[in-house]
């Protein structure tokens, strides 16, 4: 009796979860399908339950691949800005997290508390003064202006510190006896051991800058400098004159990420839930 009860409940719960999952995936599935119908039709009807199967066409994609150089410029910009930000922020943050975990130095506790407080300063108050600073530094409408303020990643520092605390300190002593410098220890021995945390943070930073909107919106001015979210936002007009690029283009920003997610799920999950390391 009890066992049957559990089984029934399991079936009900499975069905509920299946429905919830379908609702969550519905917007993605429908935009992928809609990218294969003429944008005029989507414009007229919105996303509808009665999908016009007879209108299926590849025209949006042929257009974007042959006619829209602009879109590929944005794609390239987003790709290399994200890549550069991953490398720079990982490099600097991992050093700090490692130093906080492995060395007892004067002021390390104060430094840590200070970082906690700085973490609480919302970007919205920094936004205008940072914008002014960028104007003074002549960095408006430059990639450097987009990248520089993003290199500081206190969240990543926390994550790396937490991870480094779990690494064996004996390895450091052994390496010292072998004559390795402190920097050699970090780059040749400890950094490779931090691999999984590096992967998780690479995904957090990468996804963050791939999807970042507000700061590039302030800094970048000319169309050919735009990143993907900025470029796509300019196409999002009520007139719908560029919807073929908008729809197919949006789909092509999601799909690579979803594929990466399927292969590296574990790292995605630990990267995106980094705030919970303490809880």
């Amino acid at each position: 009796m009890k066992k049957n009860n559990n089984k029934l409940l399991g079936v009900v719960a499975t069905v509920v979860m299946a429905i919830v999952s379908l609702i969550a995936l519905f917007p993605i599935i429908s935009i992928v399908l809609s990218s294969f119908i003429p944008s005029g039709s989507l414009m007229r009807n919105g996303i509808s339950f009665s999908f016009p199967w007879d209108e299926l066409t590849l025209s949006n994609y042929t257009y974007i691949f042959t006619q829209s150089a602009e879109y590929w410029t944005w794609y390239g910009n987003s790709l290399w800005i994200s890549a550069l930000m991953i490398v720079l922020s990982l490099f600097f943050s991992s050093m700090v997290g490692y130093a906080l975990a492995m060395y007892d130095f004067k002021g390390s506790n104060i430094f840590f508390v200070a970082v906690v407080f700085i973490l609480m300063v919302p970007f919205e108050i920094l936004m205008l003064p940072l914008f002014r600073l960028m104007m003074d530094m002549m960095l408006i409408d430059t990639y450097l202006g987009v990248i520089l303020p993003g290199i500081v990643a206190p969240v990543a520092v926390f994550f790396f510190r937490q991870y480094a605390l779990g690494l064996p300190k004996e390895l450091m002593d052994a390496a010292r006896i072998d004559g390795s410098t402190e920097y050699g220890i970090f780059f040749k021995i400890m950094l490779p051991l931090m691999g999984p945390s590096l992967a998780a943070m690479a995904i957090l930073q990468g996804l963050g800058s791939w999807n970042n909107f507000l700061w590039p919106l302030l800094v970048l001015r000319s169309n050919d400098m735009f990143t993907l979210p900025l470029g796509l936002a300019t196409l999002l007009t009520p007139y719908g004159n560029n919807y073929d690029v908008l729809i197919a283009g949006s789909v092509m920003t999601i799909i690579p990420i979803v594929i990466l997610f399927i292969f590296f799920q574990r790292y995605f999950i630990s990267g995106l839930t980094v705030g919970g390391v303490k809880g």
Binding site: M17, S21, I118, V152
Partner: protein
């Protein structure tokens, strides 16, 4: 011509060695490691934060900056600001309720061994978090477009309601932003709760079952108290992110929603500071927003006992 005094190679090496040894001493190494971070923190966070407070007492025009005392703050209390605050507050209240309760319930279900395809469900619910607000918002604009044939209007049509102009109806405007945020964040919050549920020892449930506790009682008296820290964490993060909300508003109306039905505090800062070029006033708005967020953060830190001494 060459005025540099020749130095013997032995001496240079000695000097270099001393310098290298200094660089490699355990006292110096950590400072070398943290210095680039500290520099960029000072330049791109500390300096702008201070500058932001100073600017809020200034009138900032190109090449013409003067102190004007409190008058930026006096201007803050205006109808548009009230509108932005009430929109943002409504958004925060709704998102915090939805994004705490629903993920918790779904995580409890996903944690049960009787449910099948758990990994698949978890992954499906997580995928929306991979989209940007801009792309997600664009999809929502098509689902909630004013045409009769759009998904949202088809659904309410089933219940006999007339098609709605979602983006131009005040309560629906808030609803759109809330739904977009909840759709994107549910999967992430589920993961937080799942991680916390993993720490609840099975023995507690077994003991309760032997004592005759019902399923609901077990949830109320074992699961809920064990999840308390993560509930506080998730709700605080949601509240803070809610008060900072910008993109959800921007993707639907850029910065000009009719009657400001979709204006958030952050969008108001952008509108005044960047678009109207009234940076001093924008900075004052930023300071007000920062105070709101500080108070919430401190309540969170007290609630979780971060300030209490003791081992974790």
């Amino acid at each position: 011509m060459n005025t540099v005094t020749p130095v013997s190679p032995v001496r240079t090496r000695k000097k270099q060695n001393k310098f290298l040894r200094f660089l490699n001493s355990k006292k110096v190494v950590p400072f070398v490691f943290i210095s680039p971070f500290v520099l960029s923190l000072l330049l791109f966070t500390v300096y702008p934060a201070i500058q932001g407070v100073i600017m809020s007492f200034q009138s900032v025009l190109p090449g013409q900056v003067e102190f004007i005392g409190m008058s930026n703050y006096e201007r803050v209390l205006n109808p548009t600001f009230y509108r932005a605050v009430s929109n943002t507050t409504a958004y925060v209240v709704l998102t915090v309720i939805i994004l705490t309760i629903i993920p918790m319930v779904l995580a409890v279900i996903l944690n049960s061994k009787h449910v099948r395809f758990r990994t698949l469900f978890r992954a499906s619910l997580f995928i929306p978090a991979l989209t940007s607000t801009i792309v997600g918002g664009m999809i929502f604009r098509f689902m909630f477009s004013e045409q009769q044939g759009a998904v949202a209007n088809q659904l309410i049509g089933v219940f006999g309601f007339d098609p709605l102009k979602w983006m131009f109806t005040p309560w629906a405007a808030i609803g759109l932003m809330v739904m977009l945020a909840c759709w994107r964040w549910i999967g992430v919050n589920i993961l937080y709760f799942l991680a916390a549920l993993q720490n609840v020892p099975d023995e507690m449930y077994e003991a309760a079952e032997i004592d005759g506790a019902t399923r609901l009682q077990r949830f109320r008296f074992i699961t809920m108290p064990m999840l308390k820290p993560i509930i506080i964490f998730v709700s605080t993060i949601t509240i803070i992110n809610g008060f900072r909300m910008f993109e959800e508003s921007y993707v639907f109306w850029a910065v000009g929603s009719p009657g400001n039905i979709g204006l958030s505090i952050a969008a108001y800062i952008y509108q005044q500071g960047i678009q109207q070029n009234d940076m001093g006033f924008g900075a004052a708005l930023g300071v007000v927003l920062m105070l709101i967020i500080f108070v919430i953060s401190i309540i969170y830190l007290i609630a979780t006992g971060t300030f209490k001494k003791g081992d974790r």
